[in-house]
């Protein structure tokens, strides 16, 4: 099976990123999103605290009910915080969409196979938790279908974007989370 390339698929799926407040998980997705938004003030990228992207996006979504929050994170990060899928499904924030960029491995640490490469299906887990909308994207046709989910406010939605093993784009980011926090808040609150 020919899988999608994250460098092409993620920009197509997200479209105009200015529509969203974006929390990105660490490692690959932080590069995907940093490259896409150039760390514009609607973006907060994790660089550590693995497993923190899902709960942070939940806190943000509940705090900003009139804005759409997008959490873009990897299979490894989401596997580490799977309990939070249950929490999100319980609270059901309509304005939260999760994109799991699933390459089925830990690219950052040498390419070890992740649990999703060993048979774990995060779409079914999200569904089992009670997410009203879930979608697995493997083909280009499914990518276009997935795009429509991002146009709606009827989440929470969980999108499993299956991608090949290729690297994310090269991007030199700001590692200072305090600066990024201030930038993000200033954009929203002042």
């Amino acid at each position: 099976m020919v899988l999608l390339d994250r460098k092409k698929a993620i920009p197509i799926l997200i479209g105009d990123n200015k529509r969203f407040l974006i929390i990105s998980g660490l490692a690959g997705p932080a590069k995907d999103i940093g490259f896409l938004t150039k760390e514009s003030p609607n973006t907060f990228l994790f660089g550590g605290a693995m497993g923190g992207a899902l709960p942070t996006s939940l806190g943000l979504a509940l705090s900003r009910p009139n804005d759409r929050v997008l959490c873009v994170s990897g299979d490894g990060d989401i596997l580490m915080s799977m309990g939070c899928l249950a929490t999100i499904a319980t609270i059901k924030p309509k304005n939260l969409i999760i994109i799991c960029v699933d390459n089925a491995l830990y690219l950052e640490t040498g390419g070890q196979t992740s649990h999703t490469g060993l048979g774990v299906n995060l779409d079914m887990i999200a569904k089992g938790c009670g997410f009203p909308i879930t979608k697995t994207i493997i083909t280009e046709q499914e990518l276009l279908e997935g795009k429509k989910i991002l146009d709606n406010f009827s989440g929470p939605a969980f999108i499993l974007l299956k991608v090949n093993k290729s690297s994310p784009p090269k991007y030199s980011r700001n590692w200072n989370a305090s600066e990024e926090k201030l930038k993000f808040r200033k954009n929203l609150i002042n």
Partner: protein, 181 residues
């Protein structure tokens, strides 16, 4: 049966100060109450769950409460994490987000492995609460008397949301009573 009997005692002793504690948090504008259930937090959790003007978030593990607090701050709201001392251990790496990102963070922790504890399993984490939190940059303030609850919570709210510090308020077993085994 024993549990119910104990809870009966808890209820009489705690109701007033716990209700005041909830009002103090709410009056300060706390919107998100994340929690892992604990008997010592029961009244606070019940209050938050019944109140439509706040959001009570049951967690599967305490560490979720760290990201929720940070995300809530990014969006301009205030959050609190309610947990038992054993949950502190689950939070340690997530506190990297708070410490490195200098996020304000408030948690209220009911202690186990403390004054009069009868379950020997509770001591290892109970005794590690203050050193581990301190090592992750979280200041700890312990309350032992009910007359100190309101003033201490107000002080913690000021430290967290005015000075943007991370603070844990520890409710001692002297205050909440030790569970009987």
């Amino acid at each position: 049966m024993i549990y119910n009997k104990v809870w009966g005692c808890y209820k009489i002793k705690m109701k007033n100060w716990q209700n005041r504690l909830y009002k103090t948090l709410k009056n300060d504008g706390i919107k998100l109450f994340s929690y892992v259930p604990d008997a010592g937090h029961k009244i606070l959790i019940d209050n938050a769950t019944k109140d439509n003007s706040v959001i009570a978030i049951p967690l599967t593990s305490e560490e979720e409460g760290i990201g929720i607090a940070a995300g809530s701050y990014l969006g301009g709201s205030k959050a609190v994490l309610l947990m038992q001392s054993s949950g502190v251990g689950n939070c340690i790496n997530q506190l990297s987000l708070i410490k490195h990102g200098q996020f304000p963070f408030l948690t209220i922790i009911t202690m186990r492995g403390d004054f009069g504890e009868g379950n020997p399993w509770q001591f290892a984490m109970g005794e590690a609460v203050i050193p581990t939190l301190n090592s992750m940059g979280v200041s700890c303030i312990k309350i032992e008397k009910k007359e100190d609850v309101e003033s201490t919570i107000k002080a913690a709210l000021t430290m967290v949301f005015k000075s943007e510090r991370s603070v844990a308020v520890l409710l001692s077993q002297k205050l909440i009573g030790a569970k009987i085994f």
